[in-house]
C-alpha cells in the first residue's frame, strides 16, 4: 500500500510521543543488558524531531523522513542515532520515487543491517524491522505481529551491540532497540489501521 505524507507525518509524531512517554521504560530495559540510556537518548531524538517539524513542516515524504533522520543522527548520541538515522535517511532517498510502505520499511531495515553490520537473530532492532517488513508485504499489519516480533527478542542471546558483551546473560530480557522499534510500528498501525 501507498503511504501519504499526512499519514506519515501522523506516524512519526505518534512515534516520538511514545518515545517521550516511555523514556523510563526504555532506560529500564537498557539497564538490564546495555548502558541504561536508550530511553534518554531516544527522548532527546524525539524532542529534536518535534523541534525540526516545528521549524519547517516537511513538504513531501522524502523531506519528512530526512528531517527525522537528521534529528536522530544529530541528537540521539548512542548507537541508535546512526541506526535509526540510516533507516530514515535511506527511506528518504527511496521516497523520492517510491511511496510503497512495505518497500520503504524494507529499505529502512536494509539500512540498519548495513550500518550495524547485523542481521536477524542477533537480538537487535532488526528482529522487529525485518519481520514487520515481511508482514507488510503480505498485507495489513497487526498489533499481534509487532508483539510477536518484539517478544521473539526475549530469549535470544545477543551477538551484536552492547548486550553481546553479556553473552548468554543477555537472554531473558527484551531488546531495548526492538522495544523502541515496536513503538514505531504500533504508531504506524494507529495511523493506517490494522
Amino acid at each position: 500500500m501507498k503511504i501519504e505524507l499526512n499519514d506519515a507525518e501522523k506516524w512519526i509524531n505518534l512515534f516520538v510521543d511514545k518515545l517521550e512517554k516511555n523514556k523510563a521504560e526504555l532506560n529500564e530495559l537498557d539497564t538490564a543488558i546495555g548502558d541504561g540510556d536508550h530511553g534518554t537518548n531516544m527522548d532527546r531524538g524525539a524532542k529534536a524531531v518535534k523541534d525540526a517539524f516545528a521549524k519547517k513542516t516537511p513538504v513531501d515524504l522524502s523531506e519528512l523522513f530526512k528531517t527525522t533522520a537528521f534529528a536522530m543522527i544529530q541528537k540521539v548520541g548512542g548507537a541508535s542515532g546512526p541506526l535509526y538515522g540510516t533507516a530514515f535517511l535511506d527511506m528518504s532517498k527511496a521516497a523520492k520515487d517510491n511511496d510503497d510502505l512495505s518497500a520503504l520499511v524494507q529499505i529502512g531495515a536494509d539500512g540498519i543491517k548495513r550500518r550495524g553490520q547485523s542481521d536477524v537473530k542477533m537480538k537487535t532492532m532488526i528482529d522487529v524491522w525485518q519481520p514487520i517488513a515481511d508482514d507488510l508485504k503480505q498485507g495489513p499489519l497487526t498489533d499481534q505481529q509487532v508483539t510477536d516480533a518484539l517478544e521473539s527478542t526475549k530469549d535470544m542471546v545477543a551477538t551484536k551491540g552492547r548486550a553481546s558483551y553479556l553473552e548468554e546473560k543477555s537472554a531473558g530480557h527484551l531488546d531495548p532497540g526492538s522495544q523502541s522499534s515496536a513503538y514505531l510500528f504500533e504508531s504506524l498501525i494507529e495511523v493506517i489501521g490494522g
Binding site: Q74, G77, G81, L83
Partner: protein, 122 residues
C-alpha cells in the same frame, strides 16, 4: 601533508588523551578529534566528526575509533564525504600510535597498514 589522523571516541577525555599521547610521537602531524556527544557527554556526534575532518589538513585521513556508535557515525560520515578516509578496526591507542609514528616519517600507506594488521581487534 600526505596523511592526517582523526580520533573518534565516546569520551572527550579519551579522544583528547589519545591525541596528547600520539602527538608526542608525531609532533608535525595533523591530528584532530571527535570525542563525546555535542553536550560533551558519553556518546558520539556526527557533527563533531564532521568538524574533526574539516579541521584536519591531511590530504588523506587515517581514522581510528573506539566503540559501536563511534564506528557507525564515522561510517555514516564516510558515506557523505568526498575525502579519502582509511578507517582501521584496530585497538584505538596502539593503532593510532603506530600509524602516527609511521606517518610522521612519511611512511607509505602500505607500511602503515602492514604494521596495523596485528592490531585488528574488531
Amino acid at each position: 601533508m600526505k596523511y592526517g589522523i582523526v580520533i573518534v571516541s565516546h569520551s572527550v577525555k579519551i579522544a583528547d588523551g589519545v591525541k596528547d599521547l600520539i602527538s608526542e610521537a608525531a609532533p608535525s602531524l595533523s591530528i584532530t578529534v571527535a570525542g563525546g556527544t555535542d553536550e560533551n557527554a558519553i556518546g558520539s556526534s556526527l557533527e563533531k566528526i564532521q568538524k574533526a575532518f574539516d579541521e584536519n589538513i591531511g590530504d588523506e585521513i587515517l581514522a581510528f575509533y573506539d566503540l559501536g556508535s563511534s564506528k557507525m557515525n564515522l561510517e555514516m560520515f564516510m558515506e557523505m564525504t568526498d575525502k579519502v578516509v582509511h578507517k582501521y578496526d584496530v585497538a584505538l591507542v596502539e593503532g593510532a600510535y603506530t600509524a602516527a609514528t609511521l606517518a610522521e616519517i612519511d611512511s607509505p600507506l602500505e607500511t602503515i597498514e602492514n604494521s596495523l594488521k596485528p592490531l585488528i581487534i574488531k
